[in-house]
C-alpha cells in the first residue's frame, strides 16, 4: 500500500491495517513500504509502542471530534 492509499482509508481502518502489518513486519519496513516517516505517522496520531501501533485520538485543536463522553451524554 502506498501513502495515498493509506491516507484515503477511514481513521479506524488505518490503525487496523498498521497492526496487521506489524504482526509480520518490523517498523522500518512498514514505513518504507508506505513511503512515510515516523514523524509523518506521529503527526497523524499513530505511534509505534512495544511492537504495536497505537493512536492518540485527540490532538488539541487539531481535531474537533468529541469523545462522546462529554457532559450531555453522561448526565441526562
Amino acid at each position: 500500500m502506498d501513502k495515498q492509499q493509506f491516507l484515503n482509508m477511514e481513521e479506524a481502518d488505518r490503525l487496523n491495517y498498521l497492526n496487521t502489518e506489524a504482526a509480520t513486519k518490523d517498523f522500518a519496513t512498514i514505513c518504507a513500504e508506505l513511503g512515510m516517516t515516523k514523524e509523518e505517522l506521529n503527526k497523524l496520531g499513530y505511534y509505534f509502542v512495544r511492537n504495536k501501533f497505537m493512536a492518540k485520538p485527540m490532538k488539541g485543536y487539531g481535531t474537533t471530534i468529541r469523545s462522546g463522553n462529554e457532559y450531555k451524554d453522561r448526565f441526562k
Binding site: 514523524e39 509502542v49 485527540m58 474537533t64 469523545s67 463522553n69
Partner: protein
C-alpha cells in the same frame, strides 16, 4: 439560588446578581456578588451569600470595582491615534468607523500578503482567553494567535503535559466544588494532606480554583505541605515546608518518587492496572536518592523522606501544582513527575484527590471548531508549528519565542498587523525581554488594542483602541479552569453601561459578520450563548441567569468507566491507554520519555563564574491580594495597600549590601535591570531574592519614552529569550541570577 437576578429597590437602586471574571479581577473564579446601580453608576458591590463556592466572600479587587469602573483614566470610547506612535494623541471615533478601518486593513493585508501576516496576541486569564483564538481563526482568518510568554510558561505546559500523560482535562484538587452541599456531601472525602507545590492559591485563585477553599479544608482538618522557595503565610500554618532552591523542583519530585517506590508505599493495584512504564520509572528514580536530591535542592534529606512517606501513606493526599511547573525549562519533566506521584499513590480521580476533566472542554466545542475554518495549507503556516511539534500539537497558538524571532527577522514571512486582546505584555507580565519585544513590535504596520485602560502596550502600539467593558457591563459565561475541568459555570450579567464598550464576544461577532458572515450567524451575545448552552446542557442563557450558577455533576474513576476515551473503552486517552509514567509521545518528539532533572540554565552550579558577579538567585511572580498581574495599579484604595513593587531580600544579605528596609534597589543581570523597593524578611533564603511582576505607573507620563514608567521596575527585562525546554515549553522566569545594589538616584 434565587430565580430573580435583577431587582429594583424602593429608592430606585437596581441590584443585579452576577459572577466575576476579569476585566477586572482575575482568572475565571466567578465569585457571586450583587451590583448596586444607582443613576447609571455602580455604587456598591456586595458578596452573594447564596453562591455555593464564594458564599458571600469577596476579595478587595471586586470590592473596589466601582473605583475601577468609574476611573477617570478609563477609556470608554473607541479611539483612533492621531499623533505618532507613542504620542498621547487620540480622537474619539464611532464603532462603525473603527470597524470599517479595521476591516479595510484586514482585507488589505489578507489580499496582499496572506492572512498569516496578521497576528493576534492574547494575555493571561481574562475572559479574552476564550475568545482570542476564535477572533484569530474565525473572525480574522489568520492561523497566528500568540500567547507571547517565552516557553508558553503559564498553564499551557500543564494542560499539555496532562494531555500527553493522562489524556485528560486539567487536574485540580477535589475541593467539593461540584457539590451544592460542598464538603458535607456524602460522596466527598476530605484530603488528609494537601501538597501545594509552587503556588499561593490564597492570593492567586489559579485558573478559577477558589483559593480560600484551602482555609475551608484546613478548618476541617486537612494538613498542608508547601513546596516553595519562600515561607509564605500559608507556610507558617503548614505541617511541612520544603523550602527548595528555585528551579530545582524536578529533582525534588524525583527524590520523593525514589522514596515512595523504594519503600513500597505506592498503590500496587493502580500501578499494575492503569500505568505504563513503571519499571522504567523505578529504574530512573534510582538516580535520585534523597542525599543527592538534598544537595541539589537545599532541602534536608530527612524532610524529603518524611514528606515522601506522608504522600505515600496519607489518603487522600492530592498535590496541587502551580506556575512553578510552567516557568522552568525543566518543567515538563516536573509536571510529568508530579502526575506520576499523584497516579502511583492512588490519588487520581478519587474523592478528595485530584479531579480530572474529560478530554473535551465544557462549552469548548465551538472554540475548537473555529480552527477547522482555516485551510490545512494556512494552518501549516502557523509560526513555529513545524519546529515545535509537541507544543503545536497540544496548543493552537504560535510558538511564542519563535514569534519574536519572526518579528525580528521577517522569516519565514513578515508580520504586518497586530491585534492585542487584553494583553499588556511589554509590562512585566507575559513576555521575556519585553524591551526586545517592544523593539520588534515596531515593525508592525497597523495595530488594534482591546483593553479597559490605556496601558503601556496600548500607548506604544495601538492605532485603534477598542474599549472593553468590565464584567459588570456585559453578558457572559464564566467557567472555572476555562472549561477544562469546570467546577461550575456562572452567568455574568450586564448591570449597566459605561460609555460605549463592547465585550470580546461582541467584537468577534461584529467583526466576523463583516468578514466571514458564514461563520457568524448570531446577532447578540445572548443568542450566541444560547447556541453554546442549549445543545450541551439543555438550557439557555436566560435559564443560566436564573440559576445563577450551574454545577455539573462529577464522576470519579472515569478511567474505569470508559469516560475518558473517544472509543468508550476503559483507560486513559493516551497513546497506550494508560497513565504514561514513561511517555511514548516524548520519545516520538525526541525527548527523554522519563522525567529527569536538569540544572537551571543560570545558577550557582551551571554558571559558577557568572554567579560570582550575580550572587543571588532571582525568582519572581508571586501574587498579591491587590492586583491581577498588571491590572489595578490605578485603583487608589488598592494602591494604598500595595504602593510599590517589592523585592524580598534576607536581612543578612541586605546588611552586607548596606540595604535597609524600604530602600529602592536595582536588580541587575546579564540581560537587564530594574528598580524595586526592598523588603527585608527572613522568610526567604539569604541567597535568594524575590521580585514583583506586573508593575507600571499609571500616574507617570504616558508618552514615550516613559510609557507610564513601564521600564523602571520591569523584572522581565532580566529574563532571557528562548531559554526553553526541549519540547518548546518553559522559560526560567523563576530561577535566574542577579545582583542587587542600592539605588542612589
Amino acid at each position: 439560588m434565587e430565580k430573580e437576578w435583577k431587582k429594583q429597590q424602593s429608592d430606585g437602586t437596581i441590584v443585579v446578581r452576577t459572577c466575576g471574571w476579569s476585566p477586572p479581577g482575575d482568572h475565571p473564579v466567578g465569585c457571586g456578588m450583587k451590583l448596586h446601580i444607582k443613576d447609571g453608576r455602580l455604587v456598591k458591590v456586595e458578596g452573594d451569600p447564596e453562591h455555593p463556592i464564594s458564599q458571600g466572600r469577596l476579595c478587595v479587587r471586586c470590592l473596589t470595582l466601582p473605583e475601577y469602573v468609574h476611573h477617570p483614566q478609563r477609556v470608554i470610547y473607541p479611539m483612533k491615534r492621531v499623533g505618532k506612535r507613542g504620542e498621547d494623541k487620540w480622537q474619539r471615533i464611532s464603532w462603525d468607523e473603527a470597524l470599517d478601518i479595521i476591516c479595510d486593513k484586514i482585507r488589505y493585508y489578507t489580499d496582499n500578503y496572506g492572512a498569516e501576516s496578521i497576528i493576534v496576541f492574547g494575555g493571561t486569564g481574562r475572559e479574552a482567553c476564550l475568545y482570542y483564538y476564535p477572533l484569530a481563526f474565525s473572525a480574522i482568518g489568520t492561523p497566528n494567535c500568540c500567547y507571547p510568554l517565552s516557553g508558553w510558561s503559564c498553564y499551557g505546559p500543564r494542560c499539555s503535559i496532562t494531555d500527553y500523560i493522562l489524556g485528560a482535562g486539567y487536574p485540580e484538587i477535589d475541593f467539593a466544588g461540584f457539590y451544592p452541599d460542598r464538603y458535607d456531601n456524602p460522596n466527598y472525602k476530605r484530603p488528609e494532606y494537601l501538597v501545594i507545590w509552587g503556588k499561593n492559591p490564597l492570593m492567586s485563585n489559579p485558573d478559577g480554583f477558589y483559593g480560600h477553599s484551602i482555609i475551608d479544608l484546613m478548618k476541617r482538618g486537612t494538613k498542608i505541605i508547601c513546596v516553595d522557595p519562600r515561607i509564605t503565610w500559608l507556610g507558617t500554618r503548614a505541617e511541612h515546608v520544603l523550602q527548595l532552591r528555585p528551579g530545582t523542583d524536578t529533582a525534588l519530585a524525583l527524590g520523593l518518587l525514589n522514596v515512595i517506590i523504594n519503600e513500597d508505599l505506592y498503590d500496587h493495584d493502580f500501578v499494575e492496572n492503569w500505568t505504563y512504564g513503571f519499571e522504567e520509572l523505578k529504574q530512573r528514580v534510582q538516580e535520585y536518592p534523597p542525599e543527592k536530591v538534598a544537595e541539589i535542592t537545599w532541602v534536608p534529606k530527612e524532610k524529603i523522606i518524611e514528606v515522601a512517606r506522608i504522600i505515600g501513606t496519607a489518603k487522600p493526599c492530592p498535590i496541587q501544582w502551580g506556575l512553578a511547573v510552567d516557568e522552568n525549562p525543566n518543567g515538563v519533566q516536573l509536571g510529568h513527575a508530579i502526575l506520576a506521584l499523584i497516579a502511583i499513590t492512588g490519588n487520581l480521580d478519587v474523592p478528595g484527590g485530584i479531579t480530572i476533566g474529560p478530554p473535551a472542554a465544557l462549552m469548548g466545542k465551538w472554540r475548537m471548531e473555529t480552527r477547522s475554518q482555516l485551510s490545512e495549507e494556512l494552518w501549516a503556516k502557523r509560526i513555529g508549528a513545524e519546529q515545535w511539534p509537541a507544543l503545536s500539537t497540544a496548543m493552537a497558538t504560535t510558538h511564542p519565542d519563535e514569534t519574536l524571532d519572526t518579528l525580528e527577522t521577517g522569516k519565514p514571512y513578515k508580520l504586518r498587523m497586530g491585534w492585542f486582546n487584553s494583553s499588556n505584555f511589554i509590562t512585566a507580565t507575559c513576555s521575556a525581554q519585553p524591551d526586545r519585544w517592544y523593539r520588534a513590535l515596531q515593525s508592525l504596520e497597523f495595530n488594534v488594542v482591546q483593553d479597559t485602560f490605556m496601558t503601556p502596550t496600548a500607548m506604544a502600539f495601538a492605532d485603534i483602541f477598542l474599549p472593553l467593558p468590565t464584567f459588570a457591563e456585559h453578558d457572559g459565561v464564566v467557567l472555572t479552569h476555562f472549561g477544562r475541568n469546570a467546577i461550575f459555570m456562572g452567568a455574568i450579567n450586564k448591570a449597566f453601561e459605561v460609555g460605549e464598550c463592547k465585550s470580546d464576544i461582541e467584537v468577534c461577532i461584529e467583526l466576523g459578520k463583516r468578514l466571514h458572515p458564514e461563520h457568524w450567524p448570531w446577532n447578540t451575545a445572548e443568542e450566541f450563548f444560547n447556541d453554546q448552552l442549549k445543545p450541551e446542557f439543555g438550557f439557555d442563557f436566560n435559564d443560566l441567569r436564573e440559576k445563577g450558577v450551574f454545577q455539573p455533576p462529577y464522576e470519579y474513576k472515569k478511567y474505569e468507566k470508559g469516560l475518558l476515551r473517544f472509543d468508550g473503552e476503559p483507560g486513559f486517552n493516551t497513546v497506550t491507554g494508560l497513565v504514561e509514567l514513561c511517555s511514548t509521545l516524548f520519545e516520538a518528539w525526541g525527548e527523554d520519555p522519563l522525567p529527569y532533572y536538569k540544572e537551571p540554565p543560570y545558577s550557582p552550579y551551571s554558571t559558577p563564574e557568572l554567579f560570582k558577579e550575580y550572587p543571588f538567585i532571582l525568582t519572581s511572580g508571586a501574587r498579591t491580594f491587590t492586583s491581577f498581574h498588571s491590572e489595578h495599579r490605578q485603583v487608589p484604595t488598592l494602591r494604598e495597600i500595595t504602593p510599590d513593587p517589592i523585592v524580598e531580600i534576607h536581612p543578612e544579605a541586605a546588611e552586607r549590601l548596606g540595604i535597609k528596609d524600604g530602600d529602592w534597589v536595582y536588580l541587575e543581570n546579564m540581560f537587564g535591570k530594574c528598580k524595586q523597593k526592598a523588603k527585608l524578611t527572613k522568610t526567604i533564603n539569604p541567597k535568594v531574592v524575590h521580585a514583583s511582576h506586573g508593575w507600571w505607573y499609571p500616574e507617570k507620563p504616558a508618552e514615550e519614552p516613559s510609557l507610564f514608567g513601564v521600564w523602571e521596575s520591569n523584572i522581565n527585562t532580566l529574563i532571557p529569550h528562548k531559554h526553553i525546554g526541549k519540547l518548546g515549553f518553559g522559560a526560567p522566569f523563576k530561577c535566574l541570577i542577579c545582583k542587587v545594589y542600592k539605588a542612589e538616584d
